[in-house]
Symmetry: C2
Subunit: 164 residues, 2 copies
């Protein structure tokens, strides 16, 4: 079984291709590909408009966390075939994708559940941080409200501070 | 609100593009795009291998059913922004997509729930039929087990018969 499954991760400073992510998980043994795309939303924060996000990651630790996450997913949903997660680093304009993940499965229910779990766990555990950039040129590091260690003082994920 | 949302459907005999479906629902007001892709699975049926599916639809009725379905989705998840559903007709080889749907939403939970509901309801209610084609050239119309009127004798969806 292990030889027949793929877990593929990419951290990239380039535009993410949903077609590439979907092609990576495509399998003739599967009838379903479940996909989630996280995009930069044009938010308003204290009267300032978000024009983009700047992502940074502890890259080797992201790789390790995603490897653990995929093993966890395969324990919970053994029929899951391939998993592919691409995450953007650096500048991501409003409307662009910061993360694209796809999971293939013989039937759809397990894949849909696995994708929901995958994005929740990625947000909770992967050491990826984002800085909001506003239309008045101010910036602010945002903690992920779902981050499990966001209240831990020794982890920088908890530090939501204005850079200006 | 109604001017700001899009419901886009396409029935097509051509290869479906996930990028096109995703671009159709993309919105700067949304942080999430949830996608489902149904693909032809290389199944074994009574010792015969499925090599492809042949789809037929009652096209005007599909349009009407999907319009109703989108209205239903917007009642259940009012924050859903855009919905796009492309469904293939005619021959779909193993591994290729027969349906691609995407839903954009400000946050991910409502979009993910809406996509799950959307594919379940489409399978239950849209008048689209598929014929399995096997490696020995035999074919068989397959009823959709989720079709709500599959037991109703006046609807052809209930007729699972071998064409050979």
């Amino acid at each position: 079984m292990s030889a027949e499954v793929r877990d593929v991760f990419k951290l990239s400073r380039d535009w993410l291709s949903v077609q590439e992510v979907v092609d990576t998980v495509s399998s003739s043994s599967c009838g379903a590909i479940s996909v989630f795309i996280g995009t930069t939303r044009e938010d308003q924060v204290d009267g300032r408009k978000v024009v983009g996000l700047e992502y940074e990651a502890y890259e080797s630790m992201v790789q390790s966390e995603l490897t653990k996450l995929c093993a966890d997913i395969r324990t919970r949903w053994p029929s899951v075939r391939h998993v592919c997660i691409h995450h953007r680093l650096g500048w991501v304009s409003v409307g662009e994708a910061s993360v694209i993940m796809a999971i293939s499965s013989p039937h759809r229910h397990e894949g849909q559940q696995a994708v929901q779990y995958c994005i929740s766990q990625l947000k909770a555990n992967a050491p990826i941080w984002k800085k909001e950039v506003y239309d008045n040129q101010e910036t602010s590091w945002r903690e992920n409200s779902e981050c499990s260690w966001s209240q831990s003082p020794e982890k920088t994920c908890s530090e939501s501070h204005n850079q200006n």
